[in-house]
Amino acid sequence: MSAPALSLRNVRVAFGEDEARVSAVDDVSFDVMPGESHGLVGESGCGKSTLLRAICGLNREWQGEIRLEGELLGPRRPLAFHRHVQMVFQDPYGSLHPRHTIDAILAEPIAIHRLGDTNRRINEALDQVGLGRAFRFRFPHQLSGGQRQRVAIARAMILEPRLLLLDEPTSALDVSIQAEVLNLLSDLKRSRGLTYLLVSHDLGVVAHMCERVGVMRAGRLLEETTVQAMREGRVEHDYTRRFIEASQGYDRTMAHRWESIATP
C-alpha cells in the first residue's frame, strides 16, 4: 500500500483574535491517494478554499498535520515543494497579471526555478493546453475566459507537478467552455499521471471528474463518500442528501419538505 499523495490530520485554520476568532477549517482529516481525483464539495464558507490555501502554503496559520507523500510539512514551503504541488484558481480574470504577456506569465516559474530552456518549455506548455503560438505575446485582456483558464493550467503544468489543487476551476466559465476545460484536465491527468484535489460547489463537475468526494460544511468534513454512493443515494447526513437533491434542479416538493429546517 503506497503512501497517500496527500494526507491531512486534524487540520485547523482560524482567523482573528479572541471573540472575533473564526474557525474556517475545523479538524479536517482525509487522504488523497496517488493517481486519484479527489473531490471536495461544499457551499460558500465551508472552508474548502481555505483548506487548499493552507495546503499550498498561501496561508501559514494552520494547525494539525499535512503530509505530502509521507513527509510532514512545516509552516513554510521549500522551493522544491512548488515543483510538486501547483494550483489553478477560480477566477480566470484575476489569476493572470493584467500587464504581463502570456509569455512573461509562463516564463516566470521557469526563471524562479532556474529550469532554463525557456522557449521550448513555453511552447510545449501552450501546445499541451491547446493554445497556439499566436497567444504567446498577447495580454490577458485579449483572451477569453476559457483561454485564460488554459493559460492558468499551462502555468501550473510548466513546473511538472505531481499534485494539482483545483479551486473551482470552471465556476466562472460558460457550460460549453467548461466542458472543454474539464476534458483538458481529464486528458492531462491521464497523460501525466497526476493526482487531483478538486474543490467545487458544483456537484455535477465533481461527479464528472472525481471518484471519492468529501462533503464540507461550516469548516468540518461532514462525510467522505464516493460518487457512486451519492448517485445511489447511500449517504449518511441529511445535509448531503439535501445538497444532492438541490443540485439536480428545482423541485417544489423538495422545498416544502425542507420547511422545517431553519430559515433565518
Binding site: 490555501r53 499550498c56 502554503g57 498561501l58 514551503r77 522551493l79 515543494f81 512548488h82 501547483q86 494550483m87 484558481f89 477560480q90 477566477d91 484575476g94 489569476s95 493572470l96 497579471h97 493584467p98 500587464r99 504581463h100 504577456t101 509569455d103 512573461a104 516566470e108 516559474p109 524562479i112 526555478h113 499566436a134 505575446f137 498577447r138 495580454f139 485582456h141 492558468a152 502555468r155 513546473l159
Partner: protein, 303 residues
C-alpha cells in the same frame, strides 16, 4: 481606387498577432497613445511641456540677449521691438531671462521627479507588501513628514542646508515623497490579495520578485499621473522659495526669483513680474492637463 498605403511600422503596430514581447508592448503603448490623442486638453498640455523643453534646449538661439547682461541705459523699458518682454531694473532683457529660466524650471521638475517617484514607490510598495512592524515604522516616518505644511518644511530644510537651487530641489523632494509613498502603499494593499500574486507565491517567487514584477507595474500608472499633477505644486513651491530668496540666487533667471524682485515694480512696470508669472501659470496648467490625460489612458481598470 483609393489604395491604403501602410508604411512598415504602422502595420507592425496594428498587427493582429504580436510576434515578440517587444512588439506586444509597443502595440499596447501605441493604442494608449491613440487614446491619449483623443483628449484635446491633454494634448495641449503635452504640447506646452514639449515647447518648454524645446525652449530650454534651444535657449541660446531663442533668447535675444544675454540674460545676465546689464544695460543701465536701457532699464525699465516696456515691451517693444528691441525687448519683447521689456527690461528689468538693471536693464536685463526679461524675455531672454524667461527663456533661460525655463532651463531652471525644467531642471527642478526633472530632479524632483526622479528623486521623489522612485523613493515614494519603493517605500510605499515595500511597506504595503511586507506589513507588520516594517509597515508601521515606515508609515510613521511618512506621517512625520506629512505633518508639516509643504512650504514650511521646505523652508526649514533650506534654512538648514543653505539657500541655492540644488538645496531647494532636495527640500522640495523631501516634502513631496510622502504623498507618493502613501499612494503606492494604498495600491499595494489591494494588489497583494490578487490571485495573480497568490499564483506567483505558489510558484515560489520571493517577496522581492513579487514587489518588483507584480506590484510595481500596477502602482506605476497612479504614480506617473501623480508625478505630473504634483509638478504644478513643485513649480509653485520652487517659485515660492525663490520668492523668499531661498531658491535660486540672483542673478539666476529663475522665474520665482524674478517674480520676487519684480514685485515692487508691479504697478508702474507691470511686465517685470507678469511674464515670469504667466510662464509659471502656463507650465503648471500644462502639467495638470497632462496628468489628467495620462490618468484616463493609464488606468489599468479601463482594460
Amino acid at each position: 481606387m483609393n489604395a491604403l498605403v501602410r508604411t512598415g511600422w504602422r502595420s507592425w503596430l496594428s498587427a493582429e498577432v504580436a510576434q515578440s514581447a517587444w512588439q506586444a508592448s509597443a502595440q499596447r503603448a501605441w493604442l494608449g497613445w491613440r487614446r491619449f490623442l483623443g483628449n484635446p486638453l491633454a494634448v495641449a498640455g503635452l504640447a506646452v511641456i514639449v515647447a518648454l523643453m524645446v525652449v530650454a534646449l534651444a535657449a541660446p538661439w531663442i533668447a535675444t540677449h544675454d540674460p545676465y547682461a546689464q544695460d543701465l541705459a536701457a532699464r525699465l523699458l516696456p515691451p517693444g521691438a528691441g525687448h519683447w518682454f521689456g527690461t528689468d531694473e538693471v536693464g536685463r532683457d526679461v524675455f531672454s531671462r524667461v527663456v533661460y529660466g525655463s532651463r531652471i524650471t525644467l531642471e527642478i521638475v526633472f530632479l524632483v521627479a526622479i528623486i521623489v517617484a522612485p523613493i515614494g514607490l519603493a517605500i510605499g510598495t515595500v511597506s504595503g507588501y511586507a506589513g507588520g512592524w516594517l509597515d508601521t515604522v515606515l508609515m510613521r516616518v511618512t506621517d512625520i513628514f506629512l505633518a508639516f505644511p509643504g512650504l514650511v518644511l521646505a523652508l526649514a530644510f533650506v534654512a538648514a542646508l543653505g539657500p541655492g537651487l540644488f538645496n531647494a530641489v532636495i527640500a522640495i523632494a523631501l516634502t513631496h515623497w510622502p504623498g507618493f509613498a502613501r499612494l503606492a502603499r494604498a495600491e499595494t494593499l489591494v494588489v497583494r490579495h490578487a490571485d495573480y500574486v497568490s499564483a506567483s507565491r505558489i510558484q515560489g517567487a520571493s517577496p522581492m520578485r513579487i514587489v518588483l514584477r507584480h506590484v510595481v507595474p500596477m502602482c506605476l500608472p497612479s504614480v506617473i499621473v501623480r508625478t505630473s499633477l504634483s509638478m504644478a505644486g513643485v513649480i509653485l513651491t520652487a517659485a515660492g522659495l525663490g520668492f523668499l530668496g531661498l531658491g535660486a540666487q540672483p542673478p539666476s533667471p529663475e522665474w520665482g526669483a524674478m517674480l520676487a524682485s519684480g514685485r515692487r515694480f508691479l504697478i508702474d512696470y507691470w511686465w517685470m513680474p507678469t511674464f515670469p508669472g504667466l510662464a509659471i501659470l502656463l507650465v503648471s496648467l500644462a502639467f495638470n492637463l497632462l496628468g489628467d490625460g495620462l490618468r484616463d489612458v493609464l488606468d489599468p481598470r479601463s482594460e
